[in-house]
């Protein structure tokens, strides 16, 4: 990767003032896509204006070429094996000025659920430019309309502190070598099939699925300030999931997701089978386990659950630093306020804890990190930021949309599929001044549970992912949970008196909030990197993050009983082949 700082900051401001007339730094003649983007952006910059209205002051184009391959096996056989190519276009046209522009105002429900625009797949200069022309025209007119709506909204909802809508950023040119988009998973088909067939031997399973996905993408970006990037991405994900019913009708699911950024890190066929068998054994152990009515006391979140605690209670509540303006109140449910952004400079974790977000870090303990990037989706250099210092929240991931307390970008902008550019975390490193071994954590769990007067403490190894468990639900009327934390899937009682461990089930969080982070009393010293996909309220699996953490012991957390039940099957699942 080569990185070029194109011009000084002062020069950059002059460029903005002069509006968009800088010729694009030389683009490879054979890069048809980049050439079409540059030529149409140049024409847009010079000529696009609605008579009697203002021209854009900023335009950016982003085209992502994505190729994905997917193999899905359900209940013991392949149900789908496909390869898809998408070329998607994102456009940001801004009218007004940096102080007040059309951005981040939701005047219509469609603004919430925007979708990327599709482009022709062929590297056809004329075809691409034609579509860029049409999409830009629509975006510019929409921007003018939105600015008028935003001004009208602000007139009736005056703000007390004026914060700019868009801040200047250093213009960068970053170019990766494009990745080969011709992924081939066909040699893995047999492995996925075998893993799915292996699960057929577990009589207690009702349904199961093994999914192997691989994606490669080349993302090209260009803006009217002269910034440009070509970023590449590789991602592979193995997902194994299964469902079973407990004797009392509680539906249980279990899953394992392994996300890698290197296709060579995918497990071997034998390893996939072993993982699948582990998922099944854990699930059936839970199905046989007694259901609890409630629990209050210490909880040790280990393995995957520790990383899930960080994403659900912490990183998911850091952004956006500044919410969009919304015409109607109901829209807020789709872009809820992040619960930690108003706690900058306040203590949100115990003093012994520190958290950094380092997108520039590529590896941890030999594992390639999914959160790695050198430039964000606004072409701003990604920066390592300290989020928690001695328990205090000191910074937030920022895009070029400033907040009241943080007025500049730190290179954490992500472009989501619904066309929103939002700040996101990338690679989180959870550190502690005092770490403990896993054995010491279990001892502390028992000790603390005893102090609560409990017979046992709770050990949680995996939390639910609703987008997976909902596939198996027979209920069509599921209640939307207001809890930040999802249900524990794999959990155990750890008895105070003798330390024995027994599986349990049937609990759902009862008002576990960001304040629970302050109740962390210990962090494990066995630190692992967990590559994960994080969902937003609008888009499942919206972006990748890495959480590097050890187990987390929370002193006091409350759970209540899961009450929903489903009727049991009256016939037995077929276990042998038909003759």
């Amino acid at each position: 990767m080569k990185t070029v700082k194109r011009m000084s900051f002062a020069m950059h401001l002059l460029v903005i003032a002069a509006f968009l007339t800088v010729p694009i730094q030389s683009i490879a003649a054979d890069d048809v896509i980049a050439r079409a983007m540059a030529d149409e952006l140049a024409r847009t910059s010079k000529q696009l204006v609605m008579p009697g209205m203002e021209p854009p002051y900023f335009v950016s184009y982003c085209i992502e070429d994505e190729f994905s391959a997917e193999i899905i096996a359900t209940n013991g056989a392949i149900v789908e094996s496909n390869q898809k190519a998408n070329r998607q276009f994102f456009v940001d046209v801004r009218v007004g000025d940096h102080k007040l522009d059309n951005s981040y105002f939701i005047g219509h429900w469609r603004d919430l659920f925007g979708r990327p625009m599709t482009m022709v797949e062929e590297d056809d200069y004329a075809g691409i430019r034609h579509q860029l022309w049409l999409y830009t025209d629509v975006a510019y007119k929409k921007a003018l309309e939105n600015l008028a709506g935003k001004k009208a909204y602000l007139a009736s909802h005056p703000v007390t502190v004026e914060i700019p809508d868009f801040v200047a950023a250093e213009s960068r040119v970053v170019e990766d070598e494009p990745v080969d988009l011709a992924l081939d998973l066909s040699f893995r088909q047999e492995q996925v099939d075998q893993a799915s067939k292996a699960l057929g031997a577990f009589a207690g399973l009702q349904e199961w699925q093994v999914i192997l996905q691989a994606e490669a993408s080349n993302k090209r970006y260009l803006n009217s300030e002269g910034a440009r990037f070509l970023k590449t991405r590789n991602r592979c994900m193995l997902e194994i999931s299964a469902t079973a019913l407990a004797a009392d009708g509680q539906r249980l699911t279990n899953f394992r997701r392994l996300l890698t950024v290197d296709p060579d890190e995918i497990l071997s066929g034998d390893e996939i089978v072993k993982e699948a068998q582990t998922v099944a054994r854990e699930l059936l152990e839970m199905a046989e386990a007694p259901a609890l009515d409630e629990y209050a006391g210490p909880v040790l979140f280990s393995e995957c659950a520790a990383a899930q605690v960080i994403t659900q209670l912490f990183s998911g509540q850091l952004t956006p630093a500044r919410s969009p303006l919304m015409q109607e109140g109901w829209m807020r449910q789709y872009m809820p306020d992040a619960k930690l952004v108003r706690r900058v400079n306040r203590r949100v974790m115990p003093e012994f804890m520190h958290v950094t977000d380092d997108p520039t870090r590529e590896l941890f303990d030999g594992v390639k990190l999914a959160g790695h990037r050198l430039v964000d989706d606004e072409a701003v250099a990604s920066q390592k930021i300290e989020l928690i210092r001695a328990g205090r929240l000191v910074n937030l991931p920022m895009s070029r949309r400033p907040s009241k307390k943080i007025r500049s970008s730190n290179g954490h902008a992500s472009l989501l599929d619904n066309q929103w550019i939002v700040p996101t975390v990338s690679s989180l490193f959870v550190e502690s001044d005092k770490t403990k071994t896993e054995a010491e954590l279990l001892t502390d769990l028992r000790k603390t549970a005893g102090e609560f007067g409990n017979e046992y403490g709770l050990l949680v190894k995996r939390l639910d992912r609703p987008e997976i468990s909902s596939r198996y639900s027979w209920s069509t009327e599921q209640e939307a949970s207001t809890e930040l934390m999802t249900d524990p899937l794999i959990m155990y009682k750890v008895y105070v008196d003798d330390g024995r461990v027994e599986p349990v089930r049937g609990l759902t969080p009862d008002d576990i909030t960001v304040r629970s982070l302050r109740d962390i009393i210990a962090i494990g010293d066995t630190v692992k990197a967990f590559n994960m996909l994080v969902s937003t309220s609008i888009q499942p699996d919206a972006y990748a993050v890495t959480v590097v953490t050890g187990s987390i012991l929370i002193e006091d957390a409350g759970f209540k009983a899961v009450t929903s039940r489903e009727p049991l099957p009256v016939s037995t699942r077929p276990l042998v082949a038909a003759k």
């Binding site: 149409e40 024409r43 200069y125 075809g127 034609h130 579509q131 022309w133 038909a578």
Partner: protein
Amino acid sequence: MYHKIIQIVLLCALILLPGLSEAEKESGVGDTELLNLMQFELDRSFKNLKNADETPIYYMQYAVIENRDFALAVTNGGLEAPISSTLRYLDVDIRVGSPELDNTHEIRSDNWRDNYTPRRLVQFPLEADPLAVRTTLWNETEYKRRKALDRFTKVKANRQLKVEEEDTSADFSAAQAQQFEEIMPEQLFDAEYWRPVLKRVGQYGAGLPFVKNSSVRLQLTQKTTYMVNTEGTRLQHGACYIRLFVNFTGMAEDGMELRRTEGWNAASFGKLPSEEEIMATSRRLGAELKDLIDAPVVTPFVGPAILVNRASGVFFHEIFGHRLEGHRQKSESEGQTFTKMVGKSVLPDFLDVLDDATLADFDGIDLRGYYKFDDEGVPAQPVSIVENGVLKEFLLTRSPIDGFPRSNGHARRDFGREVVARMGNTIVRSSKAFEYQKLREMLIDEIKKQEKPYGLIFQDISGGFTMTGRGGTQAFKVIPLLVYRVFPDGREDEVVRGVDIVGTPLTSFSKIIATGDDPAVFNGTCGAESGSVPVSAISPSILVSEIEVERVRKGQEKPPLLPPPNKKGQGGAA
């Protein structure tokens, strides 16, 4: 309220799937082992479940639909990613109670959800792996059994709480068990031939300065249905749908979006037109689009008109055909326009209407409404709906209606939906047919007789919708694409734009004066409660003494501010 649209054009943006070579290697479509496994699990499930509850299961049906899809498209001159996929979906139907009253019975309530089942997509193994096939069947059977029992409880309570229904016929009728198995020949999608053809046609459209968006698309769907039921039916049959479309859109200065489309449908690639024909059609579409962009907007109008054959086919499909679907005669929420008119005159006495899904082609054109068995396993059969203007029969599933106790093979659905009665090949025949030129002269006579300034010729119609429910207006709207204004004084016909045809069915049919002798095929896709199904309509041109048009809902956006890039003479290139 019932809402439907015939789709003429698919304008979906598509995604790339693997190359097409795999399909080209295979020689036949069909899985001989699958039916055996389905039969085995059906027998086991029925034996285990039929008396497992207080309410018995009396009928079960398993159907697996396999769709092999291939597509190539060119948008604005550039190739889209090709599509290639094979997927199977499972439908399990379970009836509890008895044929007289079962879980499918209509629940009379103000809550539309009581009679609405969301689409349920159950992906099915692509190989006949015994354990996977049987596990998937077992799980879905348990799910559907639970849903059937829950609904039957509501049905029984509803029947006790509400007044007696007008139509007290049973919920399910007997049908003869069918056995049929065929291996369909593989249709080879020759991408190497078609890719450059589509590209050349696409580039022609993209190069027209007034064309805002252009697309050319070729798609193949090869469908195989596997079905078994507890009455002994065992079916494996296939169908092949090939569609080629050319679509150009443009925008008038007043913001009205306009389009011209032509489509070809076939069951084999050999019946598609040559490149020269496609290109000639594209040139015609381009010229028509230009005329439309420059055309005046018509104000609301009532007067005489001709609906040219294919447009007339759509007109009959929308306005007449849907009102003859069996379930609409039974449902207490439907308008039942024709329910009590059997044996009475509903159309002019020179018209016959039949629906014949056994017809594979008409005048050399393959029909999309052709099928061998319907989605309840009943063989397709010709149904004479109207003879000499008199209503004789409805389109029927195995849900009988008053006076019509047996299915006539019109139960249809897209996978994941519940079956209802649907059209197949709807055919309008006339005994008062004239050459088109004569029909046109009759139109001019009618204009003069009514002292109207002009009449209209509807050359092309995209589709429309009709509302048949009692909760709505029970009116229809048909969306013309190409309309000409015909003057009585010999002036040249003039292209006009901006109108939809509206009306109510009984009034509209009473206005048909005569027909042409030029029956033609409209092949389309019909959307209704049971999803999208392929259909055909065959009709001659019709002359109506009076038709009402209203102004269309028009876009308010201004045309693009900059001229298109890359187009000669437009000055758009940077």
